[in-house]
């Protein structure tokens, strides 16, 4: 049955998804939560993005409810008021190890929200994954990717523990894009000594990819634009 989770996804209780703006953190977070919930895991998602006003995991609130995923986020009114607020409920989530929690973090310096919780997180079994998109010009070269990763580590006061190659061009992504990202992820892993966790691929491309050293996580696109079906 398809609902057996890959080992990389069940290795930690708390997984924070960080990275450069627009890398696809929210899409990864939503897909992980859906996969975990469908496999029967007690799952939670926290929308801790204080940077982006649009295209937030909170837009999937209804689906999370249907799948029994606990969703932790500050009030919509605070988001719409441009208030960079964090939900008080996050404190309880970070201490409740009966959940597998995915923390959806804002881009770049948005990772600073984790600094407030770094001691709590560090005391638990946690992972911090850096989402890499080689088609984003600001992380398209090794030098820029390293700079982005280290900057985010400085902001949050936690180490990045894994790299996810999430290279995409929205609905124009090709296998070539994913392979390009795999190459950059390898180089990034080599110079930072941080392992590559997986490569994401739209479900339609996942089977056609050549063998990669790390697992491929087939994803569905949930974060759609208003005209996309």
């Amino acid at each position: 049955m398809e609902n057996i989770l890959p080992a990389w996804m069940t290795a930690h209780h708390i997984t924070a998804i960080v990275g450069h703006m627009g890398g696809g953190k929210t899409e990864l977070a939503v897909n992980m939560a859906v996969a975990m919930a469908k496999a029967g895991e007690k799952t939670a998602v926290a929308d801790l993005d204080v940077v982006n006003p649009y295209f937030r995991s909170r837009e999937q609130r209804e689906m999370f409810r249907e799948l029994g995923i606990r969703f932790v986020a500050s009030a919509q009114a605070l988001v719409d008021a441009d208030v960079p607020s964090l939900p008080a409920e996050l404190n309880t989530l970070l201490q409740d190890m009966s959940y597998r929690s995915v923390l959806d973090i804002g881009g770049d310096s948005g990772a600073r929200v984790l600094a407030r919780y770094r001691h709590q997180i560090a005391a638990q079994d946690f992972a911090v994954w850096f989402v890499l998109n080689a088609r984003r010009p600001q992380t398209a070269t090794l030098e820029k990717a390293v700079w982005s990763l280290r900057k985010i580590e400085d902001e949050m006061g936690l180490p990045v523990t894994g790299i996810v190659n999430n290279t995409h061009l929205c609905n124009e992504t090709t296998a070539g894009d994913i392979l390009l990202g795999a190459g950059l992820a390898d180089e990034l892993a080599y110079v930072t000594n941080i392992p590559v966790i997986c490569h994401t691929a739209p479900r339609s491309l996942a089977d056609g990819l050549p063998e990669l050293a790390e697992p491929v996580f087939p994803i569905d696109i949930y974060m759609k634009k208003p005209w996309e079906r």
Binding site: M21, G22, N52, P53, Y54, F55, D80, D82, N133, R135, R136, P137, A140, H168, L169, C170, E172, K225, P226, W227, E228, R229
Partner: protein, 359 residues
Amino acid sequence: MDTTVEKELWKGNEAVAEAAIRAGCKCFFGYPITPQNEIPEYMSAHLPEAGGVFIQSESELAAINMVYGAAASGVRAMTSSSSPGISLKQEGISAMCSGELPGVVVNMMRGGPGLGTIQPSQCDYFQATRGGGNGDYRTIVLAPCDIQEAVDMTQEAFDLADIYRMPVMILGDGMIGQMMEPIVWHDIPKRELPSKDWCASGRKGRDHSNFITSLRIDAPDSEEFNRHLEAKYKTIAEKETRWVEKDTDGCEIIIAAYGTPSRIALSAAEELEAKGIKVGLFRPQTVWPFPSERLAELAAQPSVKAILVVEMSLGQMVEDVQLAVKGAKPVRFYGRVGGMVPSVEEIAEEAEKILQEVR
């Protein structure tokens, strides 16, 4: 397609900022407001690298007046904001029209009125196309519907501003600023630019000093200047009006929309066509000058039963459509407001309902 051209993924606001730098923008003055913050943020990081100057001004009012000053010295200058911030710039835009100063103003519209909401909107169409400031003036208003077009239009905006010596506005909605899309960087056609021999950048051996002002006390002089502006705006309407149409030939209903709603209308048209309804799409790329003549021609086709205008407003561009169509065909409106975005289903249902009524 040229497969050697690499596509890159850009966020709308960042892409507009990068496009401005590539167009030779040397001065950016702005103040933060959602949903356009990535423009000043990107400029603050990258404009100095390109030899330019970024200043976070103390207010939007200060920013537009800094654009006035920088433009007067002959450099390419720009400001950006979102709806309430653009309101504050109106006085400066009017003054730039009067001083005949080129500059680019970006508005990533959010819901209004007043401070409104940070969610996307198109409620500043009147302000952009009618002139929110005082006086008989116009600004060229370019309305991109995707990030590639926002990039191309930003580069063109600087040329248009220089050619006609006036502020040019990029009128996007919050969605255009916030979303991510693949783009390619390509050279836009170079236009012949007039020399800036009018600018106040030092006398340089001329026999006169250049003087830039928006004050014309003498009424006959002032009228003559206004007639000069009138002639300029007429030339722009003749030469720079732009639009895109799709499947308009022999269509039954025309859906007219700009920006984000035009893309939702495209998806709605595909649904309607699957049901056998012939939908034509009409998308103004310049909302001033408005492509009235072409829309009137299309509406006059015997096949056309009605025009549906879709906006994220209570109905603003619909007035330009009515002026163009002059009652020849029924013009209907569908809008969502306050930061809400119309859905594909809503537009398709509305079009079907209208056709049932008018057939």
